[in-house]
Amino acid sequence: MTKRRSFVQQLVLVFFLVLLWVMLWDAVSLMHIITGIILAFLVTRVFYLPPVVLSGRFNIIHALSYGLWFLYSLIIASVEVAWYAFRPRAVGAGSVIACDLRTSSDLLMTLVADTASLIPGSIIVDSDRALGVLYLHVLDCDSEEKVLAAKELVYHIEELLIKALGSHRDLAALKVTPDPMADERGGAR
């Protein structure tokens, strides 16, 4: 990465940290901003994070649709897990499924994993960064249809995120394989 790009990223980082600091103090005053800037610089120097490769693309409409879908799924699935806890049968066996993501970017993989972990029903257990594969444990997944449904959910999350945040290469990958489940649905795995 060029120095300029990482400088801009450091600036964005510092900005967000200052924002956080000001929000913690619940008041916007010059003193808070100055101390915030000093502390932010200290933090980014001492706890140095490697720079995140952003794609430079942010589609607000798709991002909003992702946010709304996320909220909706969160509510529905939380109620579902809560229902599992209350109903007499409790829960069946789980499964660990592998999802071969189409994206190759770190940030997107992380976001997909985070979202899949937040939406009840799946927890990310492991990942294979080199191949771009996520392994998730899915709750109550003891038949083929449920396994397929869980994989479709993950691919749907990935699709929403690529449309909102993905780079152009990711978008191209999305066009190449719009339906990564096709071969799996065809035959039993």
Partner: protein
């Protein structure tokens, strides 16, 4: 007064979700399922409680602090559950073989087979295998 009642209803919902989390902890069979039950309703419970606080005090200061709390939780809960899940999956005596399908184990087996084949091809060189 109406606002108070709405807040109380939301907090009751938070309580129900906490109870669901605890019941799931009690009733589910293995570690990974219990983790689902514990972490997920927690998020929604906190969200409802935060909304309850926010409608009582719509000032900017409280709303921003609540936003901080919720976004901390949103970011850290997946990380914490992932780490616990990974530790629980890898240390075999914490995991029951109650999995219907385990594609990670298949990948591990493939990797191990590949590694063993590689070791064999290399001869006994530096011996990594001591059982």
């Amino acid at each position: 007064m109406i606002l108070d009642i709405i807040s109380a209803v939301l907090i009751l919902l938070g309580g129900v979700l906490s109870l669901a989390a605890a019941l799931g902890l009690l009733r589910f069979g293995d570690l990974l399922s219990r983790m689902h039950a514990s972490a997920k309703p927690q998020i929604l419970g906190l969200l409802t409680v935060a909304v309850a606080i926010a409608i009582q005090y719509p000032a900017w200061s409280t709303v921003t602090t609540l936003a901080i709390v919720i976004s901390f939780q949103l970011v850290t809960i997946p990380v914490a559950t992932h780490m616990v899940g990974r530790a629980g999956y890898r240390t075999k005596h914490l995991r029951r073989s109650m999995l219907y399908r385990d594609e990670l184990a298949e990948a591990v087996d493939r990797a191990e087979a590949r590694e063993a084949a590689w070791e064999r091809r290399r001869g006994s060189g530096t011996d990594h295998n001591d059982g």
